[in-house]
Symmetry: C4
Subunit: 230 residues, 4 copies
Amino acid sequence: MTLKALREEVLEANLEIVRRGLVLYTFGNASGFDPDSGQCVIKPSGVPYDVLTPDQLVVTDLNGTIVEGDLRPSSDLATHLILYRNFPGVAGVVHTHSRHATAWAQARRDIPCLGTTHADYIRGPIPVTEPMSPADIQHDYELNTGHAIVRRFRELDPLETPAVLVSGHAPFCWGPSPTDAAHNAVIVEELAHLAFLTFTINANAEDLPDHLRDKHFLRKHGKEAYYGQR
Amino acid sequence: MTLKALREEVLEANLEIVRRGLVLYTFGNASGFDPDSGQCVIKPSGVPYDVLTPDQLVVTDLNGTIVEGDLRPSSDLATHLILYRNFPGVAGVVHTHSRHATAWAQARRDIPCLGTTHADYIRGPIPVTEPMSPADIQHDYELNTGHAIVRRFRELDPLETPAVLVSGHAPFCWGPSPTDAAHNAVIVEELAHLAFLTFTINANAEDLPDHLRDKHFLRKHGKEAYYGQR
Amino acid sequence: MTLKALREEVLEANLEIVRRGLVLYTFGNASGFDPDSGQCVIKPSGVPYDVLTPDQLVVTDLNGTIVEGDLRPSSDLATHLILYRNFPGVAGVVHTHSRHATAWAQARRDIPCLGTTHADYIRGPIPVTEPMSPADIQHDYELNTGHAIVRRFRELDPLETPAVLVSGHAPFCWGPSPTDAAHNAVIVEELAHLAFLTFTINANAEDLPDHLRDKHFLRKHGKEAYYGQR
Amino acid sequence: MTLKALREEVLEANLEIVRRGLVLYTFGNASGFDPDSGQCVIKPSGVPYDVLTPDQLVVTDLNGTIVEGDLRPSSDLATHLILYRNFPGVAGVVHTHSRHATAWAQARRDIPCLGTTHADYIRGPIPVTEPMSPADIQHDYELNTGHAIVRRFRELDPLETPAVLVSGHAPFCWGPSPTDAAHNAVIVEELAHLAFLTFTINANAEDLPDHLRDKHFLRKHGKEAYYGQR
């Protein structure tokens, strides 16, 4: 993949989360990663989306050193990079403050898998991280946010659970490309909204049975998938 | 009815559920059935709505054998067909993951008839199916989804109750035409939203009395109807 | 006021409730009344709003006899007329199934005056009618709906409380003109939404104190009003 | 700053709150203040936003005496002025009846700082004022509303907490400019919506820990800030 193509896909992922109503003002950012070159392309910090151009995107290496770009990268860069370093196969990361997913993060509750819409995308709950220590917040906050996510995924497969809620903060979503990550961010907001409604209707709503959850997940993912045109 | 006319009406029903905000990405599908020819026209699987043309719709017989079309039909085809085979007078089926109706399906609760808006369209609760067995989920899942719906309607008239919530999944709606089925899908989402609000305001809200429910249903349906221009 | 001008204002009131998102499909209707001629202009039954013209509106006298028009009037005509006959000073009536107001009607709860937004328009709760008897529903249903509203207003001033929730049904709103009635319908939906949120946040939320309620109502109504350009 | 520039910024702030969906009809108003000239520019009372021009804005001194303008100023002028007189550094005030913030005001509950979205803008809860006495409501109501706000801020820094909920009424927001005040009004509505959802999901949701709150506030405010392009 050329850097030019990656820039364009990352720009498009940033615009997609705006078009889908996930972004207020400059909240949120999308990045993409090219495992061959080891380069990351990310939104600059605090730049309004409606004037964003591919040239303004910032290119860094996996340590956050700027390779190309005159603007400061998103302040969440360090979080994105630690996900690329730790989650093999992930090549796109999207962070938003989308309303319902953020409310679940603020409520510090996992979003359980309550229905097939959820299971079509995620093979289990959307987990919330453990609260961070004062020391982890004080220094290298964004880096430590990434570490908190990675710790939460010790026993989870990031490709089967392509999203997390950072405790008291908001969601990070990812996928095998920036386009997939943005798509997952839209889906996570919808699932958070559905779960909000479901528990308001029935406070004792139960998780989808495992066999139904897996049926739906595997209908769309893996070698036995039979959804869509293949 | 010509196959061409049916294709156009089915396309329009698919677009109507998008226009009305019932569809996210490629969730959902509409089909139509011609009882004379025994042919069903349905949306292809996973094709974005904004590029959908009448020619891309798939034509099958009642057993699901493809009669016309190069694309794979919606993965929910088997569910649609079993409804056409078992519900006389039904010639349109629409499946969506519309937000509030899906939340009720996830909450695994019937939507009671709480007001006259509901009674104008549906003569009783919108029922939720029984959970399916692991075996029914493992093999012929979509066919067995249809069987679960039909079992739920043993004592219900599908023309007086033109919708169901599949447990843990989402609504299926139907009617005497694809246009009616799409219209009912919009109404069911509105009724699900109203019922969500009603129970949040008053957890002990009561069903509409039978005589008021029937007054409204029969004001719009059957030979004594007096609503609209006739 | 000429009949032509009344037709145009009634059409505009019908379109306003659509523009403001209070109407799904053909739910809802607006009418106007000219006390000098004793004529009422009302929407025809079941006609889509986007093709509605002033000529299609139906003109009746206060007994419901059609004076002009080829179409059947709204099935709710009898309810509108009884309000004009019983509420002096009322010259516009609007009926909608707007979402939050309808949910309160289904919950069969008065909407209390919880804040100054409410008090700016309505000097007390928005009342819900008593349930109607089976006999009242069976025969002359729409007329008896009007009677139920009038009974509920025995001790209320319809100009200080320009709206009602019909139990299990939906709101009727009114005012000194069709324009005012449509405006009040928009406000009632907003107040219903605010009250829904308020009680969800605080189940024990209290009514606005009388002196604050009256301050706001009288800031906008009556001879001591000082809001706006006068 | 010229008066012409201030007029244009105040007009723009008034239009921004409309564009962002915070305003129904003529609810709400924005003003700006020039500390050098001691002049305040404010929206006229009850004028629809879509016909508002810079020339129609009303210019007053800090006592409310009209310096320029043919229209009556917003009836809330006295509240705005007392904020300019008491909150050094504040040069823009915006009052809306935005839905979720108004619901919290009606519920008479502070909006706690539940997440980092809140902490990015406000360093603690959004406070609700004490109820006003009947005497304070009867005479000089708008002035006394301002006094109630100022009393509530005895131990708060208005630049760290740029918003208040007036008990039973609605929010007032402010900032170092009319643009900032309008921006804060949009944010306050979003925070109110997030807090509504958070408590509905988890009635026992806890405040963000102080160290995380301050980290986010100071990431965007003060001399150690590192968000955006600086």
